[in-house]
Amino acid sequence: MTDLYQSQRAMRNMRRAALQRGLVAVLDVGSSKIACLVLKFDPLDEMREDGLGSLAGQSQFRVIGAATTRSRGVRFGEVDAMQETERAIRTAVQAAQKMAQTRVDHVIACFSGAKPRSYGLAGETELPEGQVSEQDVARVLASCDVPDFGPGREVLHAHPVNFAIDHRSGFGDPRGHVGNKLAADMHLLTIDTGAVQNLLYCIKRCDLEIAGIASSAYVSGLASLVEDEQELGAACIDMGGGATGLSIFFKKHMIFSESVRLGGDHVSSDISKGLRVPMAVAERIKTIHGGVHATGMDDREMIEIGADCGDWEKDRRKVSRTELIGIMRPRVEEILEEVRAILDAAGFDQLPSQQIVLTGGASQIPGLDMLAARILGQNVRLGRPLRVQGLPQAATGPSFSSTVGLCLFAAHPQDEWWDFEIPAERYPARSLRRAMKWFKDNW
């Protein structure tokens, strides 16, 4: 774990360097598409007097290059074929660079797979000086007992979500407060080491430096949940091509995240099997005619499936839209039920507000919100990502919510565990800081 801890620190430094240079790329590696945006950060001194820019400070960056390419070699949000993935990333990055008319060296990536798993951690420490200092925060974070998440897994996110001093809870920033005991709650997200290493290797092969890595369920929550939803408790369901990510937000922190290894591609493959058509045709039929609620009208709407085999009977096949819906609906229901099971396991019903926001490419199926309301609860809405400056019209749909969220993540990353100080006790024996602490303690 120390390895990733160090490399996360290195990534954070890389991100700082990229922001100083004012240019960073975000890369969303999905199962159905790979999107790359090039962000240009404006200097901070252009802010208004009250410290905020327009759009609540989110206008400090501008999208100057955007490109999307069909994903190759990614399944279930994980890298499946390295060469193919590398080529797809290259395509997206090159097109975005061409639009931005500059090269980018730093990239922040997100992906949806690699079996994310959430852990809640708690730690507690005494306050020897009465007042909370940076070192105390570091110590309380270090005192969190890390669960045994097994070999082959690594920490992707480690957000301190809550601090408590004595019996007062809910501090965002405990520094300077006076008390006897400091407690912290931390949310830990672990992923499969192999999957993330593969992705990092693919990106490195494209001559790009990695300035950060994030879970796509988390960042699409950042983009598609509005502020009160994040505050009062909401779940963002990012229905992608190969995986459906789920993240629960409460008090503006992500407190839970999981993913279902089912997505829009499975619906397409069901259609492909059911209607005996190629995958591309199935995808097209799903996009144009798809739905989840059949009506009497749909019995009369005949869809030409077509084929190219030369057999007249086969090439002239038609199905009614009801049949198509009959194929799609069970799979969509299965996905939503899986999500429902995860939400139940996570204790989502304990939250004050139980808003559910559907986003991602597969959430564009007509009638999905009504189906989801029957399975997940009444508070369901379809989410679209926040608007950011310079984003092309083509990239404002719900399938880009994790891409846009990654922009926000690049601009305002939440403090993670590795952004805090290292407790002095953990430093090597000869470090200067340790000597400083000895001086402070003895004089």
Binding site: T69, T91, V93, Q97, I288, P366
Partner: protein, 304 residues
């Protein structure tokens, strides 16, 4: 469920448009990806846009100019162009007129002309010519103007001689500021000018002129002034008489002598020197005859 059908129509149109475009999406090769990135590097772009043309142009020009004949041809064509403009008739100066100068001075000015006429006005260095003309002692001031029609007009103000200065080298004419005007061979050529003598007398011409102006009734008898010891004047009269004037206020001292002379005809008597150097104690030196007579009067015995 009509609304669903409507909503689908938008998606359908979008999809059709996309599939009509049906752009191929080939992945760039590793090499082309790297080249593209290199091309997009800001420094590299700047180098291509500015540095490369500069280097190419510089190299080309350097190679072309490395041949001595080409360089000479360029210089020559430049010179030819310059000459052709300069020697247009509008710019040519054909003649020179000298105004306000006497003939010898005018001749001297003409002989000093550094270039032969006709010449282009671009080649004439009027300030230098003016300085050269003003080097002539007889010229107080010169103005050079190029008039229309190619005439170089030299307007000269000559120095007016005010005094003669006899020195070891000869007789010089000086103007009122003590500047030399010309050498005079013969004193008789300018009998109207007073004469001064003595080393450094030319620096005190103004004072000498005031003394001359103050001579009044003694004027016809004054032969000249002598600058003694570079500090004071002697007035030399005919019959070997001298008036020794003090350093300070020589004119009042001279006026006292003139007053004595007009009252008692002092200068008509037998004395050789009137010494006014100490104004509180004017002294006279008697001539030889008078001094003998006085001695005999005192002793009662005439000198042998």
């Amino acid at each position: 469920m009509w609304p669903l059908g409507r909503a689908n129509a938008g998606a359908r149109a979008r999809y059709r448009e996309e599939s009509r475009r049906e752009r191929r999406d080939p992945a760039p090769s590793r090499l082309s990806y790297k080249m593209e990135r290199l091309r997009l590097t800001p420094g590299f772009r700047l180098g291509l846009r500015v540095g490369l043309p500069f280097v190419l142009a510089f190299t080309g020009v350097t190679v072309w100019l490395s041949d001595a004949d080409r360089r000479a041809a360029i210089v020559q064509s430049y010179e030819e162009m310059r000459t052709s403009v300069e020697e247009r008739p509008e710019f040519m100066v054909a003649m020179m007129s000298v105004e306000g100068a006497s003939d010898p001075v005018a001749a001297a000015i003409r002989s000093m002309m550094p270039v032969d006429l006709p010449v282009s006005s671009f080649r004439l260095d009027l300030p230098a010519m003016r300085a050269a003309i003003e080097q002539i002692d007889a010229v107080a001031n010169a103005d050079l103007v190029i008039r229309k029609g190619g005439v170089l007009e030299v307007r000269v103000t000559e120095r007016q001689p005010a005094i003669l200065w006899r020195s070891a080298t000869g007789l010089e004419m000086l103007d009122t500021t003590g500047h030399r005007v010309a050498t005079l061979i013969d004193r008789a050529a300018r009998p109207d000018l007073p004469v001064i003598a003595g080393q450094g007398a030319d620096d005190h011409v103004a004072e000498a002129l005031t003394i001359f102006a103050a001579t009044g009734p003694l004027g016809p008898r004054v032969r000249g002034l002598v600058w003694i010891g570079e500090r004071r004047w002697d007035v030399v009269l005919d019959r070997g008489q001298r008036i020794l004037l003090p350093e300070d206020a020589p004119v009042p001292a001279l006026q006292r002598v003139i007053a004595l002379d007009s009252a008692q005809d002092m200068m008509g008597r037998d004395l050789t020197v009137v010494d006014m150097r100490n104004t509180a104690r004017p002294t006279v030196r008697l001539g030889a005859g008078a001094s003998e007579f006085l001695t005999s009067q005192v002793t009662g015995v005439s000198a042998p």
